[in-house]
C-alpha cells in the first residue's frame, strides 16, 4: 500500500516529519487530585491522578518510597467498531505496566513514603499512538496534582514505511505492520526512559527513526512548556509582544497573542484555557485582531489566572 503519495504527503495530508495537532487541557476531573486531557490529532486520552494517599493494601506499602499504580483502559466507543473490551487483557495490562514504569522513573517517590499514587488513563478516541498520548496525559495530570517530579516525561512514536521515516503514526500507518518505535523522553535531563519497538529495523535506520521520535518528544515538551515560556519571556521586554483580544471564532471567545521574536513571528491563540499555535493566519485576520485590540497586561493577567498560576 502506498503510504506516501508522489507529492510526499501521507494519508492524512501530513508531511513525513510532521506531527499531528496537539491539544491539552488540565483540571478536567473535579474530584481527582490532578487530571488532564491530551489530544494528538484524533487520538484523545483522559488521565486522572489520585494521591498520594494511604496505601489500600497494607502488604504493598513501602517504607522508603511511594507505590505507583496505573490502570489503562480503552473506552468501548474509542475505536471504529464498538467492541466490549474485557478488563485486564494482555494488551492493556502491558500498556498499564509501561506507563507505570515510565512515570515511576520521573516521580520522586522517595519523598512520599508509605503512600500510594493511582494513575487512571482512558483512551477516548484511538487513532494510533495511544501509548504516547497516555504518557503525555499522565505527565500533565501528575504535574496538576502537585506531585514532585524530576522532569516532565513526554512521549512520541515514529515509524518506517515505504523507505521513509514517519513521525507520529496514525492508526492506518500503525496497522500497516511496519516498525513502530515509541520513545519516552526526559527533555531536561536529556534521557530516554522508554523505548519500545514492534517488528525489525536495520540498525542505521533504527537510529534515524529513534532520533525522529526523540525530536517528536521534544516538540511535545515544547508544546507543554509553550505557555510557560511565553510567560517567562514577558517580564524581559527585549521581545516585542502584542496581545489582541480575538473573538472571530463564533463558538468561543479567544485571546490572541502575537509574539515577535527578533527573527520570526509567532501567533498564539488562547481560548482562555488552552493555547494553540496558529499557522496559516491570513493577513485579514491579523488586521481584524489589531482592530479589536485591548489592554495587553490585563489579558495576560487573566490568562495567568486561567492557567492557575
Amino acid at each position: 500500500m502506498e503510504f506516501i503519495s508522489p507529492e510526499g504527503l501521507r494519508l492524512d495530508g501530513r508531511r513525513p516529519l510532521e506531527m499531528r495537532q496537539l491539544r491539552a487541557q488540565i483540571g478536567v476531573v473535579s474530584k481527582a487530585d490532578g487530571s488532564a486531557v491530551f489530544e494528538m490529532g484524533n487520538t484523545k486520552v483522559i488521565a486522572a491522578v489520585y494521591g498520594p494517599r494511604e496505601v489500600e493494601n497494607r502488604a504493598q506499602q513501602m517504607n522508603d518510597q511511594a507505590l505507583v499504580r496505573c490502570e489503562y483502559t480503552m473506552a468501548n466507543f474509542s475505536t471504529g467498531d464498538r467492541v466490549r473490551k474485557p478488563k485486564g487483557d494482555r494488551r492493556s495490562t502491558e500498556i498499564s505496566m509501561v506507563i507505570r514504569q515510565t512515570m515511576e522513573a520521573c516521580i520522586m517517590t522517595n519523598l512520599m513514603p508509605r503512600s500510594q499514587i493511582d494513575i487512571f488513563v482512558q483512551v477516548l478516541q484511538a487513532d494510533g499512538g495511544t501509548r504516547s498520548a497516555c504518557i503525555n496525559a499522565a505527565t500533565l495530570a501528575l504535574a496538576d496534582a502537585g506531585i514532585p517530579m524530576r522532569d516532565l516525561v513526554t512521549s512520541c512514536s515514529a515509524g518506517y514505511l515505504n523507505t521513509t521515516s514517519l513521525l507520529d503514526l496514525n492508526y492506518v500507518e500503525d496497522s500497516a505492520g511496519g516498525p513502530d518505535v515509541t520513545v519516552g523522553f526526559l527533555p531536561k535531563l536529556d534521557k530516554v526512559t522508554l523505548l519500545q519497538m514492534d517488528s525489525k529495523l536495520p540498525l542505521d535506520t533504527f537510529e534515524t527513526v529513534m532520533q525522529l521520535a526523540t525530536e517528536g518528544c521534544k516538540a511535545v515538551a515544547n508544546y507543554i512548556r509553550e505557555v510557560r515560556t511565553l510567560l517567562a519571556l514577558l517580564p524581559y521586554s527585549n521581545i516585542n509582544m502584542v496581545i489582541y483580544s480575538y473573538s472571530a471564532n463564533a463558538r468561543n471567545s479567544c485571546l490572541c497573542i502575537h509574539v515577535i521574536y527578533p527573527a520570526k513571528h509567532h501567533l498564539y491563540l488562547v481560548d482562555r484555557y488552552c493555547l494553540r499555535t496558529l499557522s496559516n493566519f491570513s493577513i485579514d485576520e491579523v488586521h481584524s485582531l489589531r482592530a479589536a485590540r485591548t489592554e495587553p497586561l490585563e489579558i495576560v493577567e487573566a490568562w495567568r489566572y486561567g492557567l492557575g498560576f
Binding site: 483540571g27 487530585d33 508509605r114 503512600s115 493577567e301 498560576f309
Partner: protein
Amino acid sequence: MREIELSLNQTQKIRLQRALENLQCLSSKSAANASVTVADTIPVNNEDNILKGHGTLELDGEVVATVCGVVDRVDKLVIVRSLRSRYKPDTGDIIVGRVVEVAQKRWRVEIHSNQDAVLMLSSVTLPDGIQRRRTAVDELNMRNIFVENDVISAEVRNSQHDGTWQLHARSDKYGKLERGQLITVPSYLVKRCKQHFHQLDQYGALLILGCNGYVWVGELTVAKDGMEVDDVNESEKTNANSIGEINLEENYTPLETRQNVCRIANAVRVLAVLGFNITVEVILELCDLSTSLNLDIHDMLGAEFCVAVAEKESSHAKSSELLIAAIASELCPHSLHTLPALAIPVKIASSSECSG
C-alpha cells in the same frame, strides 16, 4: 488551564470571564512572575551557597523546580510552594476528618493527606467530660466514642518519626460531628487563621472550616465550651445548654435549621467551584446575597448565581482598591453592585495561591 466546570450560556461566560479578569488584574503581580513549572531552572546567584528546600532539586549545578508553583526565598533558602497538592498537616491545625478504622487504643482518621492520621484513645476527652480510666474495658468501649465513618473534628498534635501525624481532641469543642453535612473543597482554599469554629447564631448553624479542606456545616446544638468558641452571649449559651441536654436523645432538627445548613453548604460549594478563598465572612455574604435575590437553595448551585458571586467579588475588590465607581459600573453592567455592600471588605484571590 483550569476550567470552571459550569454550563454557562454565552453572556454568562463573558460576564464570568470579565469578573475573573478584573480580580486577577488586582492581584499581586510579583507572585505571578515567580511561578515555575516542573523542571524549570530557578535563577540563583551562584556565589552565595543556596539551601535547596522543598520542591527543588539540584541538577548540574542548577536549581530546578520539581513541582508547579511559586518560588519563595527566605534568605538563602529557596523553596517552591506547590499550588495544588494534598493537605500537608502542621501542628496546631484544626481539621475535620473521617474515622476509617478502630484499632488498638487508636482510631485511624482520613484527613485528605498523604497518609491517614492517628487519634489515640489517650488523647481524647470523653463526651461528657468524665475522666477516663486506663483499663482494658475502656479500650473495648472505644466504639462508644467513635466508630468507623464518623466525622470528627480534632487538632493536629505532632508527627511521629515514621511520618504519620497524631491528632488530639483534648477539648470539649472537638469530637464527633452530627446532624450536618461535610463538604470537601481543595485544601488550599482554606487558610489557617485564628478561628476555625464559627457559631452562626442567626442561622442556628455550626461551621467548621477544617484546614485540610473538609468543611463541616451542621446544626448548632450545644454551646460546648464558652472559653473556646467565639461571640456567643451568655444568656443564649446557657439557654442552648439546657435545651441541648433535653434534646440529647431526640434526633430532630427543625426544617428551618436544615434549610439554613443547606444554604451555607451551598455557599461553600459555590466558592469552591469558583476557586475563591473560603472564609466565614464571604460565606455569610453569599448567604445574604442569595436570600436578597430570593433564590431557592438549590438555585444557588446554578450558573447564574456563580456568575453573580464572581461579579460581586470583583466589584468588591475594585471598590476596595479605591477605583472610581464609574469604571466599576461600566465593568459590571449587571445591577449587582448596587446591592447593599457588606461592611467587611472581602479579600478574594488576592494571592496567586488561591487562583487554582
